[in-house]
């Protein structure tokens, strides 16, 4: 067991190293001097005063990012800052705002969105999956399956746009846009998160439902179900108490793995609903050349994703050796 932990840890460290290195290189290899990308003001200086101001600004950035040092040192320095929670700055002509400030505000939004989407997907998908497995190949099942297919084919951003207008504005049930933090107004917070979470959840609902359905159909063919039925236990009880649990392992694995992907995967949804989350932050960083911020944000998400994978992997290999083997093969 200790060996397994050690091995996994080593893997984790290696992956984190490579992931951050990849991010670091991706941004540094881009043509152009970093300080010029961050403060694109080279040709302004018609007067000495202006030139001085700009040069001073760029000198500051160069010093900040250790740009005069060799690449590997830059990486090491960045990582050591990163590890200490210093994520660099958003550079603008008029300000240098720590990225950590923005991340502190954005990360909760993304986490909330992800959790709500996940919960919503599971809450809807589980009954659907259970029932359509129970009624496999009957009309109900076919309808559910077709619906699932349909949901899978909906581009979430288009769905988001449409929901925002028709549900948020025309019907006026929930706010169509914006973000309210739960400390300010919990009810309103939940309402504002409803549509974005739903847009994100729709695809997942289909995935989870199909997954659960097929596992469940298998479970329902097992002997212990037959036995339970023969004992006269009601169908509902058989389904929910006896069949669901053994069927839900794959579902939970996949749901767990999706957690990481969802954090960053909601980029477009966050933009569509004007949610100030990590996705929107990354999009902003990319589109405005704020590459220090980009580096840190992407690294955070990648590390988060790797960590979640690692934990899941680990938990499941303890729970069920079969999964370890399957995963090793996959």
């Amino acid at each position: 067991m200790a060996k397994l932990v050690a091995k996994k840890m080593l893997q984790l460290v290696l992956v984190v190293f490579l992931v951050t290195l990849f991010t670091f290189m991706l941004v540094r290899v881009k043509p152009g001097e970093p300080e010029d990308l961050l403060v694109p003001l080279s040709s302004v200086g018609t007067t000495q005063e202006a030139k001085d101001i700009i040069e001073k600004k760029k000198d500051g950035i160069r010093a900040d990012l250790d740009l005069d040092k060799p690449l590997y040192q830059q990486y090491v320095l960045w990582m050591s800052d990163f590890a200490r929670g210093d994520l660099g700055n958003f550079y603008a002509v008029s300000s240098e705002r720590p990225v950590s400030d923005r991340v502190k505000d954005s990360l909760p939004v993304s986490l909330q969105l992800m959790i709500y989407a996940q919960l919503m997907a599971l809450v809807i998908a589980i009954p659907m999956g259970v029932y359509s497995a129970y009624r496999a190949n009957r009309p109900v099942d076919k309808v559910a399956n077709t619906t699932a297919f349909g949901m899978l084919a909906m581009p979430n951003f288009a769905l988001g746009l449409v929901l925002a207008y028709y549900v948020g504005v025309v019907l006026g049930w929930v706010p169509p846009t914006g973000y309210t933090s739960p400390e300010v107004d919990l009810v309103r917070h939940l309402k504002t998160m409803f549509l974005p979470a739903l847009s994100l959840a729709v695809g997942q609902i289909a995935v989870y439902m199909r997954l659960l359905r097929s596992d469940m159909i298998q479970t329902l063919q097992e002997d212990f179900i037959l036995m339970a039925k023969s004992k006269g236990i009601s169908n509902a009880r058989v389904l929910w108490r006896h069949a669901l649990r053994p069927s839900s392992l794959t579902l939970l694995t996949v749901a767990g793995l999706n957690v990481g992907a969802l954090i960053g995967g909601a980029v477009v949804i966050e933009v569509v609903f004007a949610l100030p989350g990590m996705g929107a932050l990354i999009a902003e960083s990319i589109l405005t050349n704020q590459y220090v911020a980009l580096q840190s944000c992407v690294a955070i998400i990648a590390i988060g994703y790797v960590l979640i994978n690692f934990l899941l992997d680990f938990v499941y290999s303890i729970l069920d050796p079969r999964i370890r083997n399957v995963r090793a093969a996959g």
Binding site: V39, P40, L41, S42, S43, V44, G45, T46, T47, E49, A50, I53, I54, K56, K57, F90, A92, V93, S94, S95, E96, R97, D101, R102, D105, S106, V109, A164, Y165, G168, V169, G172, P175, P176, T177, G178, Y179, S181, T192, A274, P276, A280, L281, E284, L287, T288, N289
Partner: protein
């Protein structure tokens, strides 16, 4: 202000920007308001959430900040400017008690109002004002104002004059100087502590304004609460503001702002696109929202041409562009028939406005001829156009592209984020760019934008005639002569085509029906008793807003 007639409406402001989010101006539409009479007595308390078209990611370290209209609105809640425009567009003392000048307009004495306190409790003193002015003109240690540096190049010196006044000496007569003390609302007076704050000057805001900053979460919200010690008194004798709290939310997609207002999520928004005017006016007719529209002292939307690089350094090419664009079709398709097409930089009512400047008419044949002439001489014309990626601006870009293609000009599109657009303009790394600027005020405010060699002359045209006219305009004291000068400038644009004019930008502030105090009829009077300024291009004061329960 002892002397003025100047009626300056100037202002230049720096950096403004904002792509041409289609803009405003509905063929002489009325500045609507149907409130006023039934508004009743202002009520104190309550809060308002106001949706802005953009976040000001660079923050509000005012001397260095690059504020567009959204940033200005926030600045005006936290800070006060020394002057402010009144109903006639004259710049009257605001945070200053008085502003006086010598006969030659080269010495300006700004006297400080008594008993004004910053949000941190420190008093407003002449010294703080001097430090502010020095910071804006790049003479204050630790502050590096890039663009105000040029706006105030003609200031020779700022000195304390007793302990209640500051004396500003200019290098040449500067008739419109009071307008620059407003600077479109950008020249707020910042507390000493913020001025000296090296690390968090952009986000720890301390002013004298009607509201105090509570929190700012970028892209989320900016919250400000009532300043109980505000120096401006309401008619009931108690200090403004009426509201306990105001929250600004950046909502960049215009349709989302309208959605949010309609669904009751917010109390107010501002907008300037035809796509927003249509539904908002419908809702106004249905009585579900209240609008305050204004095209007074408007900005102009246009395509800015970088005249420093071939092929656009050739006036024939610029003329061909102007001839190629069907402005009537532009109005119908892009603006849904709503806004008045502009003839030049000066909006109706401004000094220098001309109904017909002789700007080139739509004439594809002439355009084609000019293109051919140029291409035979110097080779093919290839252009690129930059705009923000919003649907409204890309629609404009594609419309232009079609029209130019029709006369044989290839033209590719590149989108640039809003916050990058200004940098693109400053660095000159563009050929054509969608733009919006030059709000009405004193035409002298445009000096920095057009003066040869000015870093704010983003179009980079270097015209001796323009330089002469601008210098003359700055110092000319005779109003008629002054008007003539600016009309000449207007005509010069029409022949040199440094910009391709689109329409005057019409702004609308839309609120829930129970929100009062924004339009000219219910907004507070200025300290000198004159009426409130009717324009919306640089935002509006927020201390008079109140909500009927």
């Amino acid at each position: 202000m002892s002397n003025r007639r100047v009626s300056s409406r100037l202002l230049a402001s720096l950096v403004l920007v904002l792509a041409m989010v289609a803009a405003a101006c509905g063929g002489g539409g009325t500045d609507t308001t149907d409130e006023g009479e039934e508004a009743g007595k202002p009520v104190r308390g309550g809060s308002v959430t106001y949706a802005l078209e953009a976040e000001t990611t660079g923050g509000w370290c005012l001397p260095e900040a690059q504020l567009a209209i959204s940033g200005i609105l926030v600045a005006r809640t936290i800070y006060d400017t020394l002057t402010a425009p009144n109903a006639k567009g004259e710049y009257v003392p605001y945070l200053a008690k008085s502003i006086e000048h010598n006969d030659k307009f080269t010495e300006w004495t700004i006297t400080i109002r008594d008993g004004v306190k910053f949000h941190d409790g420190t008093p407003l003193t002449a010294e703080v004002v001097k430090n502010n002015l020095d910071a804006y003109r790049g003479k204050y240690k630790g502050r590096a104002p890039l663009l105000f540096l040029f706006v105030f190049q003609d200031i020779a010196d700022v000195q304390l004059s007793g302990d209640k006044a500051v004396k500003v000496t200019t290098k040449k007569p500067w008739v419109g100087f009071p307008a620059f003390l407003f600077a479109s609302g950008r020249l707020g007076i910042v507390a000493q502590s913020q001025l000296d704050d090296q690390k968090t000057c952009d986000r720890k805001l301390v002013g004298t304004g009607p509201f105090k900053q509570v929190s700012w979460k970028v892209n989320q919200q900016f919250v400000a609460e009532k300043n109980p010690d505000y120096w401006q008194k309401a008619p009931d004798g108690k200090p403004y503001p009426y509201l306990d709290r105001i929250t600004f939310q950046p909502v960049p997609e215009p349709e989302q702002r309208v959605n949010a207002l309609q669904s009751g999520q917010i109390e107010a928004l501002h907008a300037s696109g035809a796509n927003e005017f249509v539904p908002l006016r419908e809702q106004q007719d249905a009585g579900t929202v209240k609008l305050y529209e204004s095209e007074k002292f408007a900005e102009v939307s246009y395509v800015m041409v970088n005249a420093s690089k071939p092929p656009l350094d050739d006036v024939r090419v610029r003329k061909a562009l102007a001839h190629a664009i069907d402005r009537e079709e532009y109005k119908q398709i892009i603006n849904q028939g709503l806004f008045t097409m502009a003839s030049g930089p000066f909006a109706p009512g401004s000094i220098g406005y001309l109904k017909d400047t002789n700007y080139p008419k739509h004439d594809p044949d002439e355009a084609e001829k000019l293109v051919k002439e140029y291409e035979d001489e110097k080779g093919p014309i290839r252009l690129s156009y930059r705009s923000t990626p919003s649907p409204a601006t890309t629609a404009v870009a594609q419309f232009l592209q079609q029209k130019l293609k029709a006369v044989g000009i290839e033209f590719n599109l590149a989108t640039v984020e809003q916050s990058q657009l200004i940098n693109t303009a400053i660095s000159g790394d563009f050929q054509l760019i969608g733009w919006r600027n030059h709000p009405g005020g004193d035409p002298d405010e445009q000096y920095v934008w057009w003066y040869k060699g000015s870093p704010a002359n983003f179009g980079r045209f270097a015209d001796d005639e323009m330089q002469r006219l601008l210098d003359a305009g700055r110092s000319e004291t005779d109003p008629d002569a002054r008007r003539k000068i600016y009309e000449d400038i207007n005509k010069r644009f029409a022949t040199q085509i440094w910009n391709l004019w689109a329409n005057w930008t019409r702004w609308v502030v839309a609120t829930q029906p129970n929100v009062y105090g924004i339009n000219v009829e219910t907004a507070p009077k200025l300290p000198d008793g004159s009426g409130p300024f009717p324009g919306l291009a640089t935002g509006h004061p927020l201390h008079g807003i109140w909500v009927k329960k």
